[in-house]
Symmetry: C2
Subunit: 285 residues, 2 copies
């Protein structure tokens, strides 16, 4: 596996790399969720570039940028063992040199949910993802369904800026008890960790209810949405270690607008346990 830290070296590498080329963008601190992205890329692509970049532009001023874990040598070993062709690990000055002044802003799908909870977050995501896509020039790029709104924002920007790449969504990887694998799970106390699967159980219960009621009558979408959201919220509220519910929302997974049926629907939640914010979602189908 090649390890690259400059865009110039990256371009030399990609210009000679067998195609199709797959991109797996990460912030490091790799876990089974990231490795599922790598596995999907390996399966479909002749070369895979994984990037490790803790993007300061997507952290709010009160967020965990400074304490975000950076276990670089373990990350590189995992990528190498998984058959990645090259790891691109640029320093911040390589991604955002002095004088950088350009932001990619995605409107509608970035506005609700995480966009409301984390002002500026998706501008940071969209800007760095656009840069990575244009630096690497892959045929395919892999993103986790776990960060469903990020996925919608990335799909939107790729369509809007006419970036010639296919965006591939990889299903959320879960622990045996249902908790979505996430870097931030490591911040949970043992008690919080034991209680955290309540999030997925609430989502799964709503999905099961949706399936049982399959065939939403025309015009009843808004009512079904309200029932699903209320039921899920109630279940989450029953878990005493969940300190706050940021949102519970049934949305169109492409536009992130409130779902009014028919068509694809997704139930997304964000909760806080102490200082840790957990997000998760399920597709309703």
């Amino acid at each position: 596996m090649r390890q690259l830290s400059t865009i110039a070296d990256l371009r030399v590498f990609t210009s000679g790399a067998p195609r199709p080329l797959g991109l797996v963008p990460t912030m490091g601190a790799l876990h089974a969720g990231h490795m599922a992205l790598v596995a999907a890329a390996r399966e479909e692509c002749a070369s895979v570039v994984a990037t490790i970049f803790v993007n300061p532009a997507q952290f709010g001023p009160a967020e965990d940028l400074a304490r975000y874990p950076r276990p670089l040598s373990e990350d590189l070993s995992m990528l190498e063992a998984a058959g990645v062709s090259a790891a691109f690990v640029p320093p911040v000055e390589e991604m955002f040199p002095a004088g950088s002044a350009t932001t990619v802003h995605v409107g509608a799908p970035a506005r609700p949910l995480e966009g409301e909870a984390r002002p500026g977050h998706f501008d940071g995501v969209a800007t760095v993802v656009a840069k990575l896509l244009l630096q690497v020039g892959p045929e395919r790029a892999y993103f986790g369904q776990k960060d469903a709104q990020q996925l919608a924002v990335v799909r939107r920007l790729v369509a809007d800026l006419d970036i010639p790449v296919s965006i591939v969504a990889v299903p959320t990887v879960r622990e045996a008890d249902g908790l979505a694998v996430s870097t931030r799970n490591a911040y949970l106390s043992p008690e919080q960790r034991a209680a955290a699967p309540a999030v997925y159980r609430a989502l799964a219960a709503a999905r099961d209810r949706f399936r049982i009621g399959a065939g939403v009558p025309a015009g009843a979408g808004t009512q079904v949405r309200a029932q699903l959201e209320a039921g899920c919220r109630e279940r989450l509220a029953r878990e005493p270690l969940i300190d706050a519910i940021d949102y519970v929302a049934v949305v169109d997974p492409e536009t992130m607008a409130p779902w009014a049926g028919p068509g694809a629907a997704m139930l997304a939640v964000a909760v806080r346990m102490g200082g840790v914010r957990l997000i998760d979602n399920v597709l309703l189908e």
Copy 2:
């Protein structure tokens, strides 16, 4: 010459086009300034794609979008006669389909001068130029020095988004009396047209003064700037058909920040004659 109106057809064309490929983005209503871009592209590139798109996103609500001239068949004849390989003339829905939500925003170099006079203008320019560059995928793209701040904004966004293209600046084409060639010159009355070369004369006089004083003493940049601006403003004020001076500014042509010397300097002006706004600039060297 091929005439293309969809991105899909454009991609088929560019995938088979001899390289290097040059892009000349225009809003149509072609004149000698545009044809100088085409000529430069023809000289340096094996294929040339010219685009004609009157970009609504870069017009303000009170600006001349509706009356902007659209002489399409003359434009196409001119491009064909000049040896352009393909003209890409997308309808607005092809460039901004329903659901489009992404804006490219350039900060510092887009903020003063035209950015102040025309809020949102450079977001519209940056977004459409990023799209065109990514749709066409040229090795080189040609822009006029006349729109110097646009050039600086485009250079900035290409560097910041890591778009693999060289931006080529083509010197301003002038009428025999010095007036910079511009689509909007057609809006001038005969009297205004006769008076308009006062703009270039004021710029040229300042440039000559700068040359005579060549070798600005260290630390004197700010003072030299103030003198040049005052002298130019005074000359412009002497022309009674100039109704307003929007700005007269000596700036760094890369950052558009007020020039403080040493290093490259540009004198840029915007004036109004009746309802017509004229911009022009000269490099001080």
